[in-house]
Symmetry: C2
Subunit: 615 residues, 2 copies
C-alpha cells in the first residue's frame, strides 16, 4: 500500500497515511480533529483547510461550499479532499473544542482537553528485516501521531494484552493514554467513544453527571441518598463509625457501591455500557473524600483537624473497585484544609473566583457550612459547624425538604405556607424554619435573645394578627403553624423556643465565620460585590429571611445570587479539562484556611451572632 | 526541641536537625552517608570533615585521630562532633560507595546507587496554627532531606497506611523511594536494612544472588533447576506449551514459584526475612523473560521472531506474585532482539564491552548460542540455534554435567577421562563430547565430513594406539570410551557416528554465527583481541578442543578467557546501580541484531562450518 506524508500547520505535526486517506481522517489520526457539525459528510462546509503543497482536485462538495477565490488560494474541505501525494496542509480553524457551563447567568468557559485521550494507531507489520518488538512498533506509531509522547510507559497488564490485541485487530488498535502512559488498548478504532462521570459526594446525597468526554455534553444526571447515612447523619458520626472495627471498610464500600449503582443506572438510561466510561471526577467534603478513598478520617475529627491528604489525586478506578472500563481513572479534586474539602475547591473552580477582580462571598450551607471570601488577589475560607438545624434535624417538627414539608412561610396579612408536593403538611424543613423565625423577628414576637415575648407584651401592631398562634405547649411558649386539624398526621406543627435556639446556634456559627473571614482579610460589607449561595439549601432558602435573622449580613441582601450545585459543576469542569484539574491544586493551596477554633475572638463573635438584630 | 541548620559542601545540601545530632547522623539523613569502617564508633578516624562555620569543641576521639594542624583547620570527626548551632560542613571524602566485581581477572567498577532508597524522616507535629495534612508534612520533610525530590507521588495504598504509620511511629518513619515516588513507609528508622536479589533465569537453571543493597556485598547464592523443564527442555518447546490452554499461566507460575522458594531459602540461610528484600533484578533469555512476566512468547517462536517487549521494565513485585517487601520492585533488563535476550544485555553490562577500544568476541553457548562481537564503536549480535548437543541431549550416551558424567577426555598416550564426582562413569556431557571429537579429528580417525575412517584406513601413527576402540556397533562404526565392565550401569559408553553429526550441526551453527558477525561488520580474526566465554558450558569446555573442532576459529585459541556467569554478574550490576540499569536500555538498543535466517548466505556458511578443518 502506498503511503504519503502529510504535514499540518501550524504546529508542524507530520504523519504517514495510506494513499486515498481524507485530510479529515488524517487530522483525526494526528489528534487535530475539531468539531465538524456535519461529521464529515461534506454538508456543512466548516472543515476548510488550505493545501499549501500537494495537488488536490476540487470535488462536488468543495464547489458547493467554496468560492473561486477560495479555490485559487488552495482552500479545500478536509472531509472531501483525499491525499494522493505528500502534502502540507494549513488548518484554518485550529480552535480547540470549548465547554460552556451556565452557572446562574454567568458563563464558565474552558477548553475541553480531557485527562485520558484515545489515539487510533495502525501498527506496522514486522518482518525478518524489521524485527522490532510489538511495544516498539506501537511506541513509534503513537509518537508519530503525537510528538508530545515520549518515553511511553505501560503497566504490565497492557504488555500482556498487547500481542493478542495487535494480531486479532489486524494491526489496528486504539490506545487510551494518560499523558505518555498507555492505560488501555482496544482492537480496531474505538476513538469516537469516551464517556465520563462527574460525582459530587455529599454527606447526605450523591449526584452523578454522565458526560460525553469528546463533545463535553452532559447526557444524564443520576442521584441517590448516600447509604453511609445509616451509620451516622453527619461527618462527625461517620468519623466515629469509621474508627470502629471494619467501620472504615464498611463506609468505603457503601459509597463506592452506591457510585457503582449510579454508574450502571446512568449507562443503562442512555443505552451505553459501563465499559464506555473511562474517567470519573470526584468532589466531596474532606470526610467524604477520605471515606471514598478508603483513608482513615480519624485525624480530621480531633483537634487540630488535619487530613491525611489534600492534594488532587489520580487513582485507577479498579483500585477503588469502581466498575468502569479497565483503563478507567478517577480524578479526585484536592481538599483545602480541615473540613474545607474538595467540594469547596470544586465550587471555586466552577465560579472562577480566582480570576475575578471583584470580591465575592460564597456560602455552601449545610450541617457544615463552608464559607469562602475573596477575589483573584486573595481568598480566605473557613468551615463553620452549623449543626443539623438547616436540614430540619433536632427541630421539634423538623424534617428534610421532602414531600409533606412546609418549605416556605409568609406573614403578610395572615399566615401562609407552601408544602412540598402540595397537600397537608407533616413538618417543616430548614428553609421554612428560616422564614418562620425571620417573620417572628420582624413582627417583634421574639426578642434579640430569641426569646418569645408573652402575647400581652407584643407591641408591633402587625403582630397582633398572629397573637393567637402564640400558645403554651408543655409549659413553654410556641408558635403554632398548623393545628392538628390541618396536618396529615393530626398533630400540630409548631416552632418551639428550642427550635429557635437551635437556629440561633446554626446561624451564629455561619455568621461568625463570615464575620471572622471579613475581619482577618480586612474586607468590609461594602467591598463585597456579590454573595453566591451554593448547594441545595442555599438554592432553596429565601434570601430575605436569611438576612432578617442575620445568617447573611443584612446589607448584602441585594447582592445574593443562587448558583445551584456549584460543587457538581466544578467536578464536571475537572473531568473535562485536565488543565483545570491540575490548576485546582494550586487554587486549593492558595486559599488561606482559617481554623475558627484557633481564632482568639471566636467565642465572643459566635455569641454575638446568635442574637437577632432588631430594627 | 531546638533545631539548627547544617549545610554540607560540596553540593550545598541543607537540612534542619535537632540540637545534639552528630554530623555523621546529619550526613546519613541528607543521604550523604559514606562507608565508615568503624560504623561511627570513633575508632577508625576515617570520617574527617571540615567545620567551615559554627563552633565545635574537640572530643577525645578527635584528639586520638587528628593532628594539631588538622585541628586548627577545623578538621573534626563527623561521628564525634555534635551540632549545637548552625553549621557549614565540608565533606572531605565525598566519594560514593563503589562496587567492584571481579569478572575473570578484570575489574568491573561502578557506583552503588540503588533504584530504591530509604530516607528516615522525622515528621513535624501538626497544630491548630499548622494544619498541614499528613502527606504535606511528609512531603516537606523528604524534600528538605533531598532537594531532588519534587512533586512527590504515592499509590493509594501508601496514603491509606500513612496516618497510622505516622502516629504509631511517633512521627518517625522511613520512606522507601523510587525516584520521587513513595513505595513504602515503615515506622521508625529502618534505613540501615535493605536487601535485594539478582536473578539469572536460564532455560535450565535459575541462580539467585542475595545482596546487601547498602554495602553492595553479596551475602548468599542459591540456585535451582527451572521447574518449567518438565514442560519442555528448550525454549521452542516452552513456547509451544505456553500456546496451550493455561500453558502460559502454568509456566509463569512455575518460574515465579521457584523464585519465591529461592528468596525464602536465601533469606533463611542468612537469618533475614523476606520483608528485608526490596529489589529484584532479572536477566533472562527472551523466552524466559516473557514467561517470567506472564507475557505470551508465541511471536518469538515463529518468523519473523519478534518479541512483545524488549526495553527494560520496572514492575511491582506484588504484581508478579513475588513475595518480598510490599514496596518491592522488580527491575527486568532489556532484551536486544529475537532470541538475543536480556541475559546477553546483562553480559554486556558485566563486561563493559561498550567502553572497550579493542574488539571482543563473546560467546554464551547453550541450546541457543548468543554471540556478540564488537567494541565501543559498534556491537553486533546474533543468536544461533545450536540444539541440545552441548548439553548432552540427543547424544547416544549423553547426559548433563552432573555426577557420573565423563566431563573431559585426553588422548595423550592412552585414553584418559575424568568423571564428575569420581567413580565409574554413566555417560558423557557436552564438554567431553567436544574433547572426544576434537581428539578423533586430530588423530585423523574421522574425516573432514565427520565420518569415521575404517580401522585399516588409519594413517596417523598416533591413532594406532586407539584403533581397538573403533568398533562396529549395531551396524555402524563407534568409538568406545568405556566398555561395559568399566561403567556404573554395565553398558558401554561410546561416541557414535550420529553423535558426531549432532555436534557438527551444533558447532556449525555457532561457527556460522561467528563468521557472519565478522563478515557483516568487516572484522578479521586478527582484529579480535579477546574471546570471552560466558555461561556454565563456556566455563567448562576445553578451549583447545573448541578450536580443534572449529567451534571457535582456531587462530583465536590463545585469546580465549572464561568469564563465568556473566549474565548473573550483569544482573547484580543492574540491581546495585540504577544508572547502569538505565544505561542497559541504550546499550541493548545500540546493538545491531543480525537475524541469521535472513542472511542470504547463511545456509552455505552453515554447511561449510559443519565440516572439520584437518591439518
Amino acid at each position: 500500500m502506498q503511503e504519503f506524508t502529510v504535514t499540518f500547520q501550524p504546529g508542524t505535526i507530520r504523519l504517514r497515511v495510506a494513499a486515498g486517506t481524507s485530510i479529515m481522517r488524517a487530522m483525526n489520526l494526528a489528534g487535530l480533529g475539531t468539531d465538524f457539525p456535519c461529521g464529515g459528510m461534506g454538508k456543512c462546509g466548516k472543515c476548510r483547510v488550505r493545501v499549501m503543497e500537494g495537488v488536490s482536485d476540487s470535488t462536488e462538495n468543495d464547489r458547493a461550499h467554496l468560492s473561486m477565490q477560495d479555490f485559487k488560494e488552495g482552500i479545500r474541505l478536509a472531509c472531501a479532499t483525499k491525499i494522493h501525494e505528500d502534502m502540507i496542509v494549513e488548518i484554518l480553524n485550529p480552535k480547540p473544542l470549548q465547554h460552556n457551563i451556565l452557572i446562574n447567568s454567568a458563563d464558565r468557559i474552558f477548553d475541553i482537553k480531557t485527562h485520558l485521550r484515545k489515539l487510533f494507531a495502525e501498527i506496522s507489520q514486522p518482518s525478518l528485516s524489521m524485527h522490532k518488538s510489538d511495544w516498539q512498533r506501537l511506541e513509534e506509531t503513537l509518537a508519530a501521531l503525537d510528538c508530545n509522547i515520549n518515553n511511553l510507559q505501560a503497566p504490565l497488564s497492557i504488555l500482556r494484552q498487547l500481542p493478542e490485541t495487535i494480531r486479532q485487530g489486524r494491526n489496528q488498535l486504539t490506545a487510551v493514554l494518560l499523558g505518555s502512559k498507555v492505560l488501555g488498548i482496544e482492537q480496531g478504532d474505538t476513538s469516537a467513544t469516551m464517556l465520563g462521570m462527574a460525582f459530587d459526594i455529599g454527606t447526605t446525597t450523591i449526584v452523578g453527571y454522565l458526560l460525553d468526554l469528546i463533545s463535553g455534553q452532559e447526557i444524564e444526571v443520576v442521584s441517590t441518598i448516600n447509604p453511609q447515612a445509616q451509620y451516622g447523619g453527619d461527618v462527625i458520626s461517620r468519623i466515629t463509625f469509621a474508627g470502629k472495627d471494619k467501620g472504615l471498610d464498611t463506609l468505603h464500600k457503601a459509597v463506592t457501591g452506591a457510585i457503582n449503582k449510579l454508574i450502571g443506572a446512568a449507562a443503562e438510561k442512555v443505552g451505553r455500557k459501563r465499559d464506555d466510561i473511562y474517567g470519573i471526577s470526584v468532589a466531596a467534603n474532606t470526610t467524604m473524600h477520605h471515606l471514598f478513598l478508603g483513608i482513615s478520617p480519624q485525624s480530621i475529627g480531633v483537634s487540630p483537624y488535619v487530613s491525611v491528604v489534600n492534594r488532587g489525586l489520580v487513582v485507577g478506578a479498579s483500585e477503588l473497585g469502581l466498575e468502569i472500563n479497565r483503563a478507567g481513572q478517577v480524578f479526585v479534586l484536592p481538599n483545602i484544609a480541615g473540613f474545607v474539602g474538595a467540594d469547596t475547591t470544586a465550587v471555586l473552580l466552577a465560579t472562577d473566583l480566582d480570576k475575578n477582580e471583584h470580591i465575592s462571598l460564597i456560602l455552601d450551607i449545610g450541617t457544615n457550612g463552608e464559607i469562602v471570601l475573596g477575589s483573584r488577589h486573595k481568598i480566605v475560607a473557613c468551615s463553620a459547624a452549623a449543626g443539623p438545624a438547616f436540614e430540619g434535624a433536632q427541630i421539634t417538627n423538623g424534617m428534610r425538604g421532602a414531600v409533606g414539608a412546609i418549605d416556605h412561610i409568609s406573614f403578610a396579612d395572615h399566615l401562609e405556607f407552601t408544602v412540598i408536593g402540595k397537600g397537608s403538611p407533616e413538618g417543616i424543613c430548614g428553609s421554612a424554619l428560616l422564614d418562620g423565625v425571620a417573620g417572628l423577628v420582624e413582627l417583634g414576637m421574639i426578642n434579640k435573645r430569641g426569646k418569645f415575648l408573652e402575647p400581652d407584651k407584643l407591641t408591633n401592631p402587625k403582630s397582633l394578627g398572629f397573637k393567637d398562634r402564640l400558645i403554651q405547649h408543655e409549659g413553654t411558649w410556641v408558635f403554632l403553624l398548623a393545628d392538628s386539624s390541618e396536618t396529615r398526621h393530626g398533630r400540630p406543627i409548631m416552632i418551639t423556643q428550642n427550635d429557635i435556639r437551635e437556629l440561633q446556634l446554626a446561624k451564629g456559627a455561619i455568621a461568625a465565620g463570615v464575620r471572622i473571614l471579613m475581619e482577618t482579610s480586612g474586607i468590609q460589607s461594602d467591598d463585597i460585590k456579590e454573595v453566591l449561595l451554593a448547594g441545595a439549601f442555599g438554592n432553596y432558602l429565601n434570601p430575605h429571611s436569611a438576612c432578617a435573622i442575620g445568617l447573611i449580613p443584612r446589607e448584602l441582601e441585594n447582592k445574593i445570587r443562587m448558583i445551584g450545585n456549584a460543587a457538581g459543576t466544578g467536578a464536571k469542569v475537572a473531568l473535562l479539562s485536565a488543565e483545570e484539574f491540575s490548576k485546582a491544586n494550586d487554587l486549593a493551596a492558595s486559599v488561606s484556611f482559617i481554623e475558627l477554633g484557633s481564632y482568639s475572638k471566636f467565642n465572643t463573635i459566635f455569641a454575638e451572632n446568635t442574637y437577632f438584630k432588631l430594627d
